[in-house]
Symmetry: C2
Subunit: 452 residues, 2 copies
């Protein structure tokens, strides 16, 4: 059972068996997992210490970055406690499955229901942070999906012990323990990516390169989070204080996040009025500006002095770059239409914001910008599952199929149609048609699925 097909088949069978259990069983399992993790805390942190030692040696040898090692550490701050609390928080969210989204009577006694249900088997591939094993396992179990998890090799001791702990808790329930499996090697991932008869969805959480690489290697659907190249556009009618607040927050609140702004577009009417003030505010917070000719010249003529390296000329590639740091690309454009066209060509379709006092401009921006989030006078940093009120976040999808933007538990379910003949001697299609019975299609006002 340790090689790709065995793992995938075991996951599929575990998923299928779990479909016959009450959804409450999954909530029970999450509580048991939390308790089992608490009971094995010392062992897990010891494994984590060993991963850290090995990683430190890699850093000393120059093969690993210090920042990656930091992300490995389960022992810092309240990381452990919040990991455990996260399990309970997700356990307490509403069940995303069993939700009726369409119900109609096709004929007397023939009722059709569209009912949300788990997708099946997920393959989730992520990088260093070992607590992601617990986060993803929790989301998968809550939403009713089996999952195969592959973490970074630097956290392999921690990740595999977390996986064992979860399986040990599952063994105390009716859910098969192969419901959650961890794997360690890239070879296993490659082997799994070919198994579309067992695996329904691949979720890569990591770099853009990882996502594209996986999309190129499988016909299994991929729910990937690619770059976050977010824009703020200052419209002709922008209010000064609003502009300063939204631009500064979008860029500086947490520059390493995918929802931080990377590019500022200034309407050309603002070049000598609002723009120098916005630039000063950004520079005073340590932001490096990469400016096009007009925005740079405007700063020179405004006679504001900056350190030489804080305002530099942009290159074309800056407008397609996710800086993930206190660097911002800037350009000016003569109209809202031009701004929309620029954003649609250069944005990663994640989140883009307009600062405007004009409702027609807001409307045009929100309809015209083809991104998961189109914001008005609000920081791009609000694009987040918790801030949106989902209670949790599976990831942020920049794709346009199935789920888009911040993805909550709803992104891990699909639906099936249940058709129930309640009366007579069954319902058959040949009784309908021209000169025969007609379909009623009477909406049923119910949120209760026929079977649960």
């Amino acid at each position: 059972m340790s090689w790709g097909p065995g793992i995938a088949r075991a996951a599929r069978l575990a998923f299928e068996a779990s479909q016959l259990l009450s959804p409450s069983e999954r909530v029970t399992a999450l509580h048991l997992i939390r308790d089992e993790l608490a009971a094995r805390k010392d062992d897990i942190l010891l494994a984590n210490a060993r991963d850290m030692e090995a990683a430190d040696a890699e850093v000393a040898a120059g093969r690993l970055s210090t920042s990656l090692v930091k992300r490995l550490d389960l022992r810092t701050g309240d990381k452990w406690d919040s990991m455990l609390q996260g399990v309970l928080d997700v356990a307490n969210l509403p069940d995303p499955s069993g939700v009726v989204s369409y119900a109609t009577e096709l004929d007397d006694g023939l009722e059709l229901f569209r009912v949300s249900c788990p997708i099946g088997v997920l393959l989730v591939i992520f990088e260093a942070r070992p607590e992601v094993v617990v986060n993803i396992a929790t989301l998968a179990i809550k939403s009713g999906n089996a999952a195969i998890l592959k973490g970074g090799k630097e956290s392999s001791r921690t990740a595999s012990l977390l996986g064992e702990t979860i399986q040990s808790a599952l063994s105390k329930t009716s859910i098969p323990s192969a419901y959650i499996q961890t794997i360690q090697t890239r070879e296993e991932v490659s082997s799994l990516l070919a198994l579309d008869e067992y695996i329904d969805l691949v979720i890569p959480r990591g770099s853009n390169a990882l996502v594209k690489n996986i999309q190129n290697s499988t016909r299994i659907p991929v729910m990937g989070h690619a770059d976050g190249i977010c824009h703020v556009y200052l419209d002709e009618s922008a209010d000064e204080e609003t502009a300063l607040r939204v631009v500064v927050d979008s860029k500086t609140d947490y520059p390493a996040a995918c929802n931080a702004a990377e590019t500022l577009i200034v309407h050309s009417s603002l070049l000598h009025t609002l723009w120098p003030k916005v630039a000063s505010a950004l520079v005073s917070r340590g932001v490096h500006l990469r400016c096009d000719g007009l925005t740079q010249t405007a700063l020179s003529s405004a006679k504001i002095s900056f350190a030489a390296d804080q305002v530099t000329p942009s290159q074309g590639s800056d407008y397609d770059t996710e800086h993930l740091s206190l660097t911002m690309s800037v350009l000016t454009l003569p109209s809202l239409s031009d701004a929309i066209r620029h954003i649609n060509s250069h944005s990663s379709h994640h989140t883009d914001s307009i600062v405007t006092e004009n409702d027609a401009s807001a409307s045009m921006f929100c309809r015209g910008v083809d991104s998961a989030g189109t914001f008005v006078n609000a920081s791009t940093r609000f694009a987040d599952g918790f801030r949106y009120g989902f209670g949790t976040e599976v990831g942020i999808s920049t794709g346009k199929i199935h789920a888009r933007g911040p993805v909550g538990l709803e992104g891990l379910v699909i639906y099936k149609y249940m058709l129930k003949s309640k009366s007579g001697k069954g319902h058959i299609a040949s009784e309908f048609g021209v000169g025969k019975k007609a379909f009623k299609h009477t909406p049923l006002h119910t949120d209760v699925p026929p079977y649960r």
Copy 2:
């Protein structure tokens, strides 16, 4: 503009421009298309006659099947009129975009809306029937998506004239005419499959081989319709009349359809009671039965006489075969659990039906069978977008991402989040957190999007 990148880029720009138009413009366009088709009827049917002549020559040379040629013909029966009526029917359906599925107040004056919107650019690949050009163009325009259409080469004259007619009608609207484009060659398709920056979704309508081949050749998401290997399971408690009606209808109502049943599973308690009656009913309607040992022996001992070729022993592969004809694979199993396991292993996850008088069995079947449709005492033939009440059908998806089962216009939309700061000086994320403001997440009871 005639090669892949040019076509795809033109489609993307047409889509983006269309987002700024009122949705009513798309309905106007559909009416104009219908009128333009009516005006050019003679020319189009002439092109169709030429396609037919060329196809007849291919048939004579043994390179094409007669049944394919029949599907080419736009002049038979009411095909032309119903194609034109279909345009108006879809025009009159509710707009699938602009639907609010989540609305919440994050903070005073900060409102979040999840609003359905078109996906973007579709690449639709289909086989012989030329009227599909009009069907798909209609669905794409109604749902707000640009589309690139590739039909079978046998219908190229008709398809390209239909495409020109649609573009000519679009040129009378504000919608760019590159919104709907037709292409002719496989080389163009290959080139387009690489262009994931322009194309959002590929919809292959055709054989399983076509779907798999496309899934293997692109990282663009694919909404494919694969085999329909549908099952009927006769539960221990099945009612005789219901069983006869449902099995016969599922198999014989239209055997070439993907929602026709291919395999019958008989509970072993019914081998000498219900099964011989069901077998007689099927055989009397010309069905050929491929039976496992027990079901065949049961027929022998029931002393029912059949023509020798109507009841033959099954081979293993029969249970993974979409016969698409009056042939049915039959097996017996000792329990409902076994039936569910067999279906989950051999079904194409399209539609499967149980005949039962036992509600617990119905519940177990509907929850345990991992298919787009799980039916109780109803023919598998009901699995259809029109019968489900969608007013139209984009296709039937056996995938488990985005859309599953019969797909209506809803399958051609996704959503975006619009976040609107309505008061104060804009909203910024750094004002929220521990010791600062908390998110309200108060549901907004509205179905009106902020911008439309």
